[in-house]
Structure formats: structure tokens, C-alpha cells
Amino acid sequence: MDYLNAFWVGGLICVIGQILIDKTKITPARILVLFVVIGCILGGFDIYDKIIDYAGAGASVPLPGFGNLLANGVKEEIDAEGAIGILTGGLKAASAGITAAVIFSLLGALAFNPKEK
């Protein structure tokens, strides 16, 4: 059951992105920014966690899940450390994803060469 929910919710979030790309002038790069920011806002209102409760990876794997991670991180850090959490919580929660993307991309740039076009 969790696979089915992950499939259709995750697929649906991608369809929203596809409609925005096809029907508006929003480029894929802007979709990335937009979806992460929306996820962070929905996380701020405690809405996105409810979608994750239902859809699991169908909501945590798409980019709004990354934004939600930042919102949750900020709240947890404020609970634990007080006001300084406003500054530390977001990137702390995102650190694994950002570090992985940076390190693997560096290794990728070392290991591979760009395809000839």
C-alpha cells in the first residue's frame, strides 16, 4: 500500500511541475526553486508532514520534501536551542543533501568527461 501511495502522490507532484513547465514560462531551474520554497512554506504550516504521513517517499523524495526538511529543522532547533535555531536549523537539516550533492558532483566531475554534443 505504501508503494501505491508513494507512486501516485509522487507522480502527481511531478505532473504539477510538468503543467507549470508546459503552460507557463517557468523554466525547470525555476521549478526547482519554486517547489523547494513551497515545501518549506507548507512545512511551516505543518501541512507537508501530513502529506508525508500518507504518501511516504511520494512526498519526501520530490523537492517540496527538501523544503519541508528545512522548515522542520528550524522548528526543532528553536525548540532545542532557542532563537539561534532560526539561523542554524534550516541548513543543518539540509546539510546531508547539500553535502552529498557537492561531494558526489565533485567526484563525478573528476571521474567523467562531458558528452560531446
Partner: protein, 145 residues
């Protein structure tokens, strides 16, 4: 003949945007859905190993980012993207691709201003505006406590 061709061209222009949109959405749906199912499988695997749910989700992101970057390096992710459209952009693998693709493309400009700088050409704005949003969320949360 010329007339028919012009007519046909008009017909294509009239009908294709919508059929394209439906086809694109369908492809985005199943490819994006599939990536999430793979993510669910990885998450479940680590839950079965006794990991905490937050850790399982973090490891899932890291593994998907790794796969996304590996496929970018191999030149496969671009090919997937041609069919998948947003199905390859919206999942976290799309974020990984947005870091790895410019890093690789600008390798010839060196590892400082090529790879090091250009890898943030898309990830930079993502990090900037999500950080900003998280700070705003944090301020409201702190004040409402």
C-alpha cells in the same frame, strides 16, 4: 500539394499542444512516481534494518542523489529527462542533476571557477531562497511559541 501541407501544418499546430501536454504529464507521472517508489523501497529497507525514520529518509535522499549524479555522469540522466520531463526534475535526483550537470559541463574551465563555481548555478538559488524561507518560518514559529 502545397495547400495540403499548409493545412496539415495548421492541423498539427492546433492539436499538438494539448496532446503533447497530456503525453508529457503522463510521462512525468509514471517516471516521477517510479523514482518515489524506488525511494520508498530504500526507506523501507533501512527501516527494516532498524533505522529511525528520519535517518532512513536522509539515507534515501543521499542514495538517490548518488544515483542521480552517477546517471548524469554517464550521460543517462539527460536521456531519461527527454522522456520524463518534470518527472526527472522534481524528485531529489533532479536537484542532484542540477548540481552535477553544470559541474561536469564547465570542467574545462577548471576546478575552481568551472566545477566549483558552476555547480551552484541552479543549486545556489535553491539554497538561497529555501534558506530565506526557513528563516521566515523560524521567526514566525519563534514568535508564536
Amino acid at each position: 500539394m502545397q495547400d495540403n501541407k499548409a493545412k496539415y501544418q495548421k492541423m498539427v499546430e492546433k492539436s499538438s499542444p494539448n496532446t503533447n501536454l497530456i503525453l508529457n504529464c503522463l510521462n512525468a507521472f509514471w517516471t516521477g512516481g517510479l523514482i518515489c517508489v524506488i525511494g520508498q523501497f530504500i526507506t523501507n529497507s533501512f527501516l527494516n534494518l532498524g533505522c529511525d525514520i528520519d535517518i532512513a529518509r536522509t539515507i534515501t535522499s543521499v542514495i538517490l542523489i548518488f544515483i542521480g549524479i552517477l546517471l548524469t555522469g554517464l550521460g543517462v540522466y539527460d536521456e531519461i529527462g527527454k522522456i520524463a520531463g518534470a518527472g526527472s526534475v522534481v524528485p531529489i535526483t533532479g536537484f542532484a542533476n542540477s548540481v552535477a550537470a553544470p559541474a561536469l559541463e564547465f570542467k574545462k574551465e577548471g576546478f575552481i571557477f568551472g566545477v566549483g563555481a558552476k555547480m551552484f548555478i541552479i543549486a545556489g538559488p535553491v539554497i538561497v531562497y529555501s534558506t530565506l524561507t526557513s528563516v521566515i518560518v523560524g521567526i514566525f514559529y519563534y514568535l508564536s511559541k
